[in-house]
């Protein structure tokens, strides 16, 4: 409570001998903050190159048609300071190639064997779509898909196809319109499949994979942090409110009661206290002339007393019909 009426200069005052005292907790605080900032920057710096590395497909989706032709869709980040970008296609028999840039304008392309030269001219991301006949081969009734992929990819198998062999571990598998969609990791992948009339007799229930749980965990984590933050914020707010309430609770009928005033101003002179009592009992206000009459004080003595109380923040003076109207202040926090 007393800290509220403490002169603020005390907090920063120098010792008598002029030694500058430095607050250790501030240094500690600054150090922690700096460390935290540095750590954040390192993490951000470490992650940025991964997220913005050029020439790596951001998405790679493949759809196999029943005749073995594969539709490839991919998005690649390219260097915006180059005029063109050469992309290795997954084969040389390409149809229906569409390449669009940032502004979704068609970009000029030139297919040379199994690569395509795309004129990017400042574009940062290119979206590519094409059909390719080189990824699936057929022997008898067995179809074999083969791809050496530079990144993880999604593969949608034709309807009524049944996988009978594969060389890689799939990351995920789901059913889309009665078709198996596999998510596979980068590198060489070979998948054998047959067409069958009773392939999806036991429909594969959409897997509830670990990713979902992990996503929930991340979202939960964020919510918990936000809640903790809110709790800390509310608690601090309440602390401040409580400290204010100590002053404001006793306010009734817009006037502080005497006990509160004397508690807050324990150093008031006894004759000043009498003045305050009188004003309080007079509905919180009195003319300076009334005070002089009541306490039989000369004009200057009463003027000094009123000024003293004004300085203490107990009363305020207003002009009324060319006279001084002395009023008890409604709240003393205004001066804190």
């Amino acid at each position: 409570m007393t800290s509220l009426i403490e002169p603020t200069q005390l907090k920063h005052s120098l010792g008598d001998d002029g030694i500058l005292f430095v607050r250790n907790d501030s240094i500690f605080d600054t150090m922690v903050k700096t460390l935290l900032l540095v750590a954040s920057m390192i993490i951000v710096a470490a992650l940025l190159p991964i997220q913005s590395s050029f020439s790596s497909p951001r998405d790679l989706d493949l759809i196999i048609y029943p005749d073995g032709t594969t539709h490839v869709t991919t998005e690649i980040e390219v260097d915006p300071f180059l005029t063109d970008y050469e992309l290795n296609l997954f084969g040389s028999t390409i149809d229906n190639l569409v390449v669009i840039g940032d502004n979704e304008f068609l970009l000029d392309t030139d297919i040379i064997d199994d690569s395509v030269l795309i004129q990017t001219f400042g574009t940062t991301v290119i979206s590519i779509e094409y059909d390719i006949h080189d990824l699936v081969s057929k022997q008898g009734k067995l179809w074999t898909f083969y791809l050496d992929s530079p990144s993880d990819f999604k593969l949608l198998l034709p309807q009524n196809s049944a996988i009978v062999g594969m060389t890689n571990l799939p990351i995920n598998m789901e059913i889309i319109n009665d078709q198996n969609q596999l998510t596979l990791s980068s590198g060489k992948t070979e998948i054998d499949y047959f067409f069958s009339t009773n392939t999806i007799t036991n429909p594969i229930v959409e897997p509830k994979n670990e990713t979902d749980y992990f996503s929930y965990l991340i979202i939960g984590g964020i919510i918990v942090i936000v809640l903790i933050g809110i709790a800390i914020f509310v608690r601090n707010k309440q602390k401040n409110l409580n400290s204010v309430e100590h002053i404001e609770i006793p306010v009734k009928n817009n006037i502080l009661n005497l006990e509160t005033i004397f508690k807050l101003k324990p150093d008031l002179r006894e004759d000043d206290k009498e003045l305050v009592k009188f004003i309080f009992n007079n509905d919180g206000e009195a003319l300076e002339s009334e005070l002089r009459k009541k306490f039989l004080q000369p004009r200057t003595t009463m003027w000094r007393a009123v000024k003293r109380l004004e300085r203490e923040g107990v009363i305020e003076i207003e002009k009324k019909d060319l006279q001084n109207l002395v009023k008890l202040r409604k709240s003393m926090e205004e001066e804190q």
């Binding site: 954040s40 048609y65 022997q139 009978v164 392939t199 897997p207 996503s215």
Partner: protein, 277 residues
């Protein structure tokens, strides 16, 4: 205030890390998928064996099948025991065995005719048409985004009507190859028109990019002048730069691009990078 700042930093750091964490999580397997695929493959192989061999399955295939089937059972067991590494091994073993069986079957049944030739041919044409339709739709959506609809207002409906006609031909058993070729040529012409329109719309941006690039290349050529590089190559580069500038000033961007590809070869010879900064 300090706490608020700290809290903000934590949120920022967490926000930055979380997407990468999610990617890592995504890269993990759902082990139950392995069992589902393996069981599906097992059933399919059994169906194939029954269709082809009935009860007289060759010994080598029987051994392979038993190996694969045992691996599937082991996979189920491994998953029950939460032994993921063992489950992965079992899965690969099972799928490898089934793959070998399938390849043996497919070699021996190469002559088995499942569908008539015309059916297969129709399916191929139908698939090709599906892809062409998808291609047309992609071009149409790009065209719409750039308000090229006025230019292509007749083109896309014409393409769709041709696709419809070809589908009818497939259904009635007519030979649609002539119409398919016509459709391909027509769609290519739409694409070329769109490309020309895009080039016009982007010409200012490309020109500015080009001019900046040529300025920087010119600077680099001047810098390497006295570093012992073949003077004829430098002169050649300078001549091409001059030519590109002239073409750009006449807004002949496509011609400038052609000359630039020549310049790139020369620059490669004199080891100058063509990346602008």
């Amino acid at each position: 205030m300090k706490k608020l700042a700290l809290f903000t930093i934590i949120i920022l750091v967490f926000g930055t890390i979380s997407p990468s964490l999610d990617n890592q999580a995504y890269a993990q397997n759902d082990p139950s998928i392995l069992l589902r695929i393996a069981i599906q493959a097992d059933n399919q192989v059994v169906n194939q064996l029954n269709n082809i061999y009935s009860n007289q399955i060759p010994k080598n295939i029987e051994i392979l099948y038993n190996k694969g089937h045992t691996a599937v059972n082991s996979l189920d067991q491994s998953l029950s025991n939460d032994d993921i590494e063992k489950a992965k091994q079992d899965f690969l073993l099972a799928m490898n065995s089934f793959m070998q069986i399938s390849r043996i079957i497919s070699q021996s049944s190469e002559n088995v005719v499942v569908k008539t030739t015309s059916d297969i041919s129709n399916q191929k044409i139908s698939n090709e048409l599906d892809r062409l339709e998808k291609y047309v739709k992609t071009l149409e959506s790009i065209s719409k985004r750039h308000n090229d609809s006025a230019q292509n207002s007749d083109n896309f409906p014409k393409a769709y009507s041709l696709i419809k006609e070809i589908r009818n031909q497939i259904t009635t058993g007519e030979n649609p190859s002539k119409n398919i070729n016509q459709l391909k040529i027509f769609v290519d012409s739409i694409k070329n028109d769109m490309r020309k329109s895009a080039a016009e719309k982007q010409s200012i941006a490309i020109k500015q990019f080009f001019e900046r690039l040529i300025d920087q290349i010119d600077q680099k050529v001047i810098q390497v002048k006295d570093s012992g590089i073949d003077q004829t190559e430098i002169d050649k580069a300078k001549g091409l730069i001059l030519e590109i500038r002239e073409l750009l000033s006449k807004n002949q961007i496509n011609s400038a691009k052609i000359v630039y590809s020549e310049l790139k070869v020369v620059l490669k010879n004199i080891e100058i990078s063509v990346r602008i900064t």
